[in-house]
Symmetry: C2
DNA sequence: CTGAAAGCGCTTACAG
DNA sequence: CTGAAAGCGCTTACAG
C-alpha cells in the first residue's frame, strides 16, 4: 500500500502520456475538458496524490517558509507565528518552525539546516545572545529572502518588521504625565537589546519634553524583565525615600508584579502610583486593576512579515534591497492609570 | 549567484565521480580518509550545500513532521509544540505547522496538503468541531504514522498521548474533600469533548466515593471554559441560596475568573470557598491567591508524541497497531485551597 | 490538443 | 577504494 500512484500509473491506465496527465491535473488550458474530466475521475479512483517533493525538486520551489524564533511558548512569539501561519496558509505556503532557545549556537545550526534548500524564504527573530549576524549573510548569496521581526539585526541591512519602540514608550510616558504624574519611574529591559534601549530613550524623551527632571534612581534595570525581577524592582521602589507616582514598565510581566507588590504594601493603584505596561498580554486584562499597556501588534507583525517575505520570494524583478516596515502601536488605557476619571 | 554548487560540480573539479563525492560527504566507510578530506575541503571552498529536497525525493523520506493544532497562540498548544520541536530537533527532524483554527473544514484541507508526501509523520490535536475522523484514515493506507494528543479520535484506533483526565479530576476533587469541603461545585467544559466529560466524571466519582451527595445545581456547564463564562458561572453561584465551599474548575481561566468575582463580592478564598483549576497556566502562579491546579504536562506531551511518532516512522518491523500513552499529571497545591494550614 | 524527451540532484546496487 | 548507470516523479520547451 505504500507504493503510491504516480502520474505514470495514471498515464498507463488511461493510455495517455504523463505530460498530458500532468497538464490535466494542473488545469493547463491546452488540455480538452473531456480529457481533464477523464483524468480527474481516474485520479480520484486510483487515489492519486501528487508528490509535492518531486514537484519542489523539479521546480526549485518548496512553497515553504522557515521560521526561527527564540521560543514558541512565549506568548508574543506564539502570536507572531500564528499570524505567519495564517497568512502563509492563505497563500499556499507552509511553515517550518525552529526554536533557537535564545542560543546563538543553536541559531547558527538552524541557519545551516535552512540553507539546504528546504525553504523559499525565512522569517526570524534573533536570539538574545546574537550580536553578530554573519551567519545570516549566506542567504543573500543563495537568493533566499529574509525578514526579521522584533529583535532585528543592526549590523546589516535587512528586511525588518518592527514597531516604533521609542515612540510607543514616549506615548506611554506622556500618558502618565498627562494623567498628572510628576515623578515617573521606568523598569527597563536589557540595554543590549535595541528595543529595550529604545523604550528607555522614549521614556527619557517624554520626560525631557515635559520638563520633568530625569532621576536615575527611578530607573530599574533588569536582565529579562521577568516577573521576579519585577518583584525585586518594586521592592526597591518601596525602599526609596519617596515613591514615584507613575511607573512605565517595559513589559507586562514586570508591570503585573509591581501592581501585586504595591497592593500588598497597601499602595493604591492608580491613585498613589499609576502603572503602564507594554505588550498587551492576556494577563493585562485580568490583573486587578486592569493594566494600561501598549498593543504591540504581534499577530500583525507575523502577517506583515509573511506578506513582505512572499513578495520578495515571488517578485523576481524586485530591485529593492531591503525594507523596514514599522507598525503602529496603540495605547490601551485601562484602570491602572485612570487618574482623570 | 542562485546557481548552487552540486555534487557534480565538485566531482568535475576534483576529477572524481559524483558517487564518490556523495559517499565522501556522507562519511561512507569505503572512502579513503584522504579523499574525504579533499572533498570536504573543496566543498567548503566552493560553498557546497547539499540539496535536501533532492535527497528527500530520492530517499522518499523528508525527515519532516507535520503538526495540526487548533491554534498556536493557545498556551497549552504552544507548550506542546515547543516540546515537539525540541525533541524533533534533537533527532534531526523538522516540524511543519498548521492551524485548524478549530474548523473541521480547514482540518480536512490540511490533511489533503499533508498527503502529498511532505511529511514522514503527523501529530495532531482535533478541532473542536471534529466528530468524525475519516479524513485521517487515508494516512494509514499511505503508511504515514499518526499520533494524536489531548483531543483525540474516539471513532478509530490511533496512537494517542493523553493524560488521565478522569483521575486528575478525581484527585483534584478529593483534595478539596480532604481539605474539609462538603459542598463542592464544578465548572465544566463542553460535554462533546471527551476530556471535559472525563473531568466531570472524575469529579462525580470522587463525590460518590466520599459519600457527598451530587447536587446538579452546583455544576455549571460552559461551552469554551472562557474567562467570561467563568465570570457568569461565578455569578450564578452567588445567586444560589447557599454557596459551595469548594469549586473544581475544568480549566485555569474559569478558576481565575471565579476567584476575582468572589473576591469582589468579599468572599474569602480559600476560607469560605476553596478553588482548584486545571492546566497550570502561568497565570495560576500570579493570581492572588495563587491557584491550586493540575499540571497537565503539555511540554512532555509534545515530547512523548514525537518520540512515539519517530519510533513509528523508523521502525519498519513494527507490528504494534496503535498505542495509547497516558501521562501522569500532578496536583500543585497553592493558596487557593490551603485550608488545613 | 497531445506526446517524446530531457533533466532537476541526489543515492545506491552492482561491478571492478 | 572508486565509478558508471539507473532512477526517484514531476514539469516544460519543443515538436507535431
Amino acid at each position: 500500500m505504500k507504493n503510491r500512484v504516480t502520474l505514470k500509473d495514471l498515464a498507463k491506465e488511461l493510455k495517455l502520456s504523463p505530460s498530458t496527465i500532468s497538464r490535466a491535473i494542473g488545469g493547463h488550458p491546452a488540455i480538452s475538458d473531456a480529457t481533464k474530466k477523464r483524468v480527474k475521475k481516474k485520479a480520484e479512483e486510483l487515489g492519486f496524490t501528487p508528490n509535492s517533493i518531486a514537484a519542489s525538486f523539479r521546480n526549485k520551489k518548496t512553497r515553504s517558509i522557515g521560521i526561527i524564533v527564540p521560543r514558541i511558548d512565549i506568548h508574543f512569539h506564539s502570536l507572531v507565528i500564528s499570524g505567519i501561519e495564517d497568512f502563509a496558509y492563505k497563500n499556499d505556503y507552509n511553515v517550518t518552525i525552529f526554536q533557537s532557545k535564545d542560543s546563538l549556537k543553536r541559531e547558527k545550526e538552524i541557519t545551516k539546516i535552512l540553507q539546504t534548500r528546504m525553504v523559499d524564504g525565512i522569517i526570524g527573530c534573533l536570539s538574545i545572545e546574537t550580536e553578530n549576524c554573519d551567519h545570516f549573510k549566506k542567504f543573500n548569496k543563495l537568493g533566499v529572502p529574509l525578514v526579521f521581526y522584533d529583535r532585528v539585526p543592526t549590523d546589516f541591512d535587512a528586511n525588518k518588521i518592527v514597531i516604533n519602540d521609542f515612540e510607543s514608550a514616549y506615548t506611554a510616558t506622556k500618558h502618565l504625565i498627562k494623567s498628572g504624574c510628576k515623578k515617573i519611574g521606568h523598569i527597563a529591559g536589557s540595554q543590549k537589546t535595541s528595543i529595550f534601549k529604545a523604550r528607555l530613550e522614549g521614556y527619557k524623551a517624554a520626560l525631557k519634553k515635559y520638563k520633568i527632571p530625569l532621576d536615575e534612581s527611578l530607573i530599574m534595570y533588569t536582565k529579562n524583565l521577568s516577573y521576579d525581577e519585577g518583584v525585586s524592582s518594586a521592592k526597591k521602589y518601596l525602599n526609596l525615600p519617596e515613591l514615584p507616582d507613575g511607573i512605565f514598565c517595559a513589559n507586562d510581566y514586570s508591570a503585573v508584579s509591581v501592581i501585586q507588590v504595591f497592593r500588598k504594601a497597601n499602595i493604591k493603584i492608580p491613585e498613589q502610583v499609576a502603572i503602564v505596561g507594554f505588550s498587551n498580554y492576556p494577563i493585562s486584562r485580568i490583573i486587578e486593576p486592569n493594566l494600561t499597556t501598549i498593543n504591540d501588534r504581534a499577530f500583525q507583525m507575523g502577517e506583515s512579515s509573511t506578506k513582505l517575505l512572499i513578495r520578495k520570494i515571488e517578485d523576481e524583478n524586485d530591485i529593492i534591497d531591503s525594507e523596514i516596515i514599522t507598525l503602529k502601536t496603540e495605547l490601551i488605557i485601562r484602570e491602572s492609570s485612570k487618574l482623570n476619571a
